[in-house]
Symmetry: C3
């Protein structure tokens, strides 16, 4: 390459990757937190215009999912999960024989999922009209993390 | 670059991206529609040979999932979801205090998921013998969308 | 480009892809198998340092999911799924009118999901402290497959 030519080490079309951890400390046992603004900030920082965003709980008693940001719905989700996989009596769950009391939280997380994958188009989250990303905490009271990983160009 | 040389702006190995919306208007409240042919057509149009396909509902009362295309199974899915999260009485769901009657549809969608990610290998959906992609509508009677986003090379 | 210049056909930053099938033959009907070591081996073979790993069941009566590797929890998962979607009586599921007896397995797989997408950072699975990848078999006794697809650079 001749001296003075533009650097071609990152050619047009090469892959960019971006990583950030979002931290949470939920006071109670359970909550649903809208993290769409945080993920949007990450996407802006990444510089990715076309690609995919992975957002996943890094703990196995929490979920990341997409639904509507409506308070009644959040209560419906809470009551539905508690009716299917109740916290008490804690002896219901064999996992709690380890000394934990969060057997129900592992099951709730399975039902609502670990992760979402979202398309990036023209530098924005490619969302329908009501899609919002939520962190679902099922065993709070301590610091826990969500991973945002963005791949694209 | 000398005149007449082939354009190298998109080098071999660079990232391609493709986006398409699939539209549905389901007459009744609920249905499962096999959208594998539509996604296969998108993949052909994309020119991607190696990569990932994301297929997601853009609405929060619908699912995209992968299972077998068998009519009895679709009835099993319908009855199973209705037994866990019944539509009526609509007063069961606090979300319906907003004036909506689709609280159940938000919960059904959570159980069956928002999206699938499928591998692309040699330009084809890399599927096992019975895998088929379904759109699951839980609150029909209006126009709704699925996003197909393909990333690869 | 002058003669003798290094080949730039695969520029720094181009996309790598890797594919492998993992095979299982579970003796009984149901089991949860920790496949994290297999996926870690695949990632090492791929040479990918930054990207995404997709791990999905290729059959529609099995799941891939991420949770804690604890024996009591695996029994909780098994009993929870069996209570929601029991195997017997097999006449409960219309899918079994086809001559199959695995209607329950299709439903269990829907609840636990088909796939996980995991971030790759610095050549490793980017996991929280307890995350482990499981193959969930709900209709064993025959050879079945999981797909590992890795995309990145």
């Amino acid at each position: 390459m001749t001296a003075g030519a533009p650097r071609a080490a990152v050619p047009e079309g090469s892959l960019k990757s971006y990583r950030k951890e979002l931290w949470f400390e939920i006071p109670g046992r359970r909550a649903f937190i809208n993290i769409t603004p945080d993920v949007t900030t990450c996407l802006g920082q990444s510089g990715v215009r076309e690609g995919l965003v992975l957002v996943n709980a890094m703990h196995i008693t929490a979920s990341v999912f997409i639904n509507d940001d409506e308070p009644g719905l959040r209560r419906d989700f809470e009551q539905f999960l508690e009716s299917l996989a109740p916290h008490a009596p804690t002896t219901r769950w064999q996992h709690n024989l380890t000394g934990e009391d969060n057997g129900d939280a592992h099951v709730k997380r399975q039902l609502f999922g670990r992760e979402v994958v979202v398309a990036v188009t023209d530098g924005a989250l490619d969302f329908g009209p009501w899609e919002q990303i939520f962190y679902g905490e099922f065993d709070g009271g301590r610091r826990k993390r969500v991973l945002v990983k963005i791949i694209g160009e």
